[in-house]
């Protein structure tokens, strides 16, 4: 298990390095002068030249990368062109908001998704299975920005049950925060919930056909024990892999949900910076998001070992 974890960590470090290269190149490989694009058409040549100097754009690429990387390691991701402030400060303010909503959505989708998948597998072919499967298929296909608007219209405008938009920190006012979070969290959770339900269902159905489940039946065990003890742990192995992808979907979704619900999080920051051509901020956002996803994947890989003894003692 020890060597397995070390191998995973080393691999993640390699991938992390590649991520920094990709995010760095994102800005520099594109056609045109980033400085000119950032400043817009009104900027004079001196202004552009000054920005080029400030961003080290006049140096060779490798030197630029080294400079950028060493700054990034020290927590300095550059200065926002749009707000003329340190990018890192913006991100540390926005990140907790996105994490708050994403983690709630993750828990919601994991619990409900896996539960729904198990119910489907047990009731295979019955009405409940068909209904949940259809709902899951719709859930994967639904545009969540549209779902959010639908929610605002029905639950907010027409019924008045929930606040329309905005975000409040749970530390300031827990109830207000929760009531504001309900709709965004549901919208965020729906696609990953649906995916998890589908994956759990097919994974359970696959496991149920295995020889060792037949053995379990032949032992005289109760169906509940067979499902929850013998089948589920095996079926969860591929589902856990999917959990790593979940965070990708959630962060991707938060871009849309934060826009719809006017939530001041990372996703909103990314969209605003993209629209405002604040490339330094875009670069920093992408880097931080990738880092989070990578960390989540590492955690998933390690929990894999806990679930699957073949990996643990492999």
């Amino acid at each position: 298990m020890g060597t397995y974890i070390v191998r995973r960590v080393l691999l993640s470090i390699v991938v992390l390095l590649l991520i920094t290269i990709i995010t760095f190149l994102l800005l520099h490989i594109m056609p045109g002068d980033p400085a000119a694009i950032m400043l817009g058409i009104d900027a004079g040549p001196e202004q552009i030249e000054a920005l080029r100097k400030e961003l080290w754009l006049d140096r060779p690429l490798v030197v630029q990368y080294g400079h950028w990387l060493s700054n990034a390691i020290q927590g300095d991701l550059g200065k926002s062109v749009l707000y003329d402030e340190d990018v890192t400060g913006f991100i540390t303010a926005r990140l907790p908001v996105t994490m708050h909503l994403s983690l709630m959505a993750l828990v919601l989708s994991a619990v409900l998704g896996v539960g729904a998948g198990i119910i489907c597998a047990i009731r295979r072919g019955r009405i409940l299975d068909s209904v949940i499967t259809l709902a899951a298929n719709i859930g994967v296909a639904i545009p969540i920005f549209w779902l959010g608007i639908l929610g605002i219209y029905s639950l907010g405008l027409k019924l008045g049950w929930l606040p329309l938009q905005g975000y409040t920190s749970p530390f300031d006012d827990f109830w207000l925060s929760t009531s504001k979070a309900i709709m965004p969290v549901i919208c965020l959770a729906i696609p990953s919930l649906a995916l998890l339900a589908r994956q759990t269902r097919s994974s359970m159905l696959e496991v149920v056909r295995q020889d060792y489940i037949r053995t379990a039946w032949a032992k005289g065990l109760k169906e509940r024990v067979i499902v929850l003890k013998h089948a589920l742990k095996n079926a969860l192995i591929p589902v856990v892999t999917l959990l790593g992808i979940q965070l990708r979907i959630l962060v991707g979704g938060s871009v849309l949900v934060e826009k719809v619900f006017n939530v001041p999080g990372m996703g909103r920051l990314l969209v605003d910076s993209v629209l405002g051509k604040d490339f330094i901020m875009v670069q920093a956002c992408i880097l931080v998001i990738a880092l989070l996803v990578l960390l989540a994947n590492l955690l998933v890989d390690i929990s894999y070992g806990w679930l699957d003894p073949r990996v643990r003692y492999g």
Binding site: V140, A141, V251, G252
Partner: protein, 301 residues
């Protein structure tokens, strides 16, 4: 067979093997036996027809403003009402089908083309080639598709072409991984060894053996990705990136209609339904195709 007596007739025969059914007919039969798959196929067909026939079937011009009839509720003249510039919503949805379909096809072609080649090379040559390519893919996978295409589209600038490119790039990793996995499995087959023995070139083995034999899962992935690409385009245009106004794109229509949610909710709702139906249909057809081609692919794709 030595046994060809009176028992060997249609109603009363002993056969040694199950009757042969053509593969195509079998796939068709499996797929058409599920109503959701048939439903999906019909919607996809309708999307294609609508996209190509848009100029003829749309009741109004989708672009020209008509300031005499702005923000009208659905009526017999305008089945889904009109938007803030007095344009017929139904006509804009019909024209938006062409945008969605085009983005889907081109983005998937870009992703498939690059991803398949990378996966083929990585899986076939293995060792360090595989390591380098797959680690880069890992790194790309760490950036969620929507933020990735957002960033790329931002740097390339707006416009439909750049949206297609950025969505295409964000979809590369899945193809690369699938292809690489397929190649690693097929590479061990005896017929590949045989091809090596008779001196077939690397390129020949890749193109004549590995690629065709990976076709079934690729076809499934392509179908599923059509839906994903269309959803991604809708999301980007919702965020205000991509298509340049006044052209019609479903995502942008949802976003435009959002401002009039209280008075004219249909402005936002109708194009969203279109996106959902189309994405759902591609998913259903893809799922059906997967189950018909090879049920073991469940969980892989």
């Amino acid at each position: 067979m030595q046994f060809e007596s009176k028992y060997d007739n249609r109603t009363n025969e002993i056969t040694e093997a199950p009757p042969q059914v053509s593969e195509f007919r079998r796939i068709f039969k499996v797929m058409s036996s599920r109503w959701v798959v048939v439903f999906g196929a019909i919607i996809v067909l309708l999307l294609v027809l609508t996209a190509f026939l848009a100029p003829w079937i749309a009741p109004y011009d989708p672009i020209k403003p008509d300031l005499s009839s702005t923000l009208q509720q659905p009526s017999r003249a305008h089945l889904l009402g009109t938007d803030a510039l007095g344009r017929d919503v139904l006509s804009r949805i019909i024209h938006g089908a062409w945008v969605s379909l085009r983005v889907g096809i081109i983005a998937v072609s870009i992703a498939g083309g690059i991803g398949i080649i990378l996966g083929l090379v990585a899986g076939y040559f293995g060792r360090w080639v595989n390591n380098i390519i797959m680690r880069i893919i890992d790194a790309m996978m760490a950036i969620p598709p929507l933020p990735l295409s957002l960033a790329i589209a931002a740097l390339l600038g707006g416009g439909l072409t750049n949206v297609m490119i950025s969505v295409g790039i964000s979809l590369i990793p899945t193809y690369c991984r699938l292809m690489c996995g397929q190649v690693l499995t097929i590479k061990e087959s005896d017929y590949i060894t045989a091809a090596h023995v008779i001196g077939a070139s690397d390129i020949r083995i890749m193109l004549r053996h590995l690629l065709p034999n990976s076709f079934p899962p690729l076809l499934v992935l392509i179908t599923l990705n059509m839906g994903i690409a269309i959803l991604a385009e809708a999301s980007l245009s919702f965020l205000g990136i991509g298509i340049t106004p006044p052209a019609a794109a479903w995502g942008a229509m949802v976003s435009d209609g959002y401002k009039y949610l209280f008075t004219n909710p249909v402005l936002s709702f109708a194009p969203g339904v279109a996106v959902m139906l189309v994405v759902l249909s591609f998913n259903m057809v893809g799922d059906g195709l997967r189950d018909a081609l090879d049920p073991r692919l469940r969980g892989i794709i």
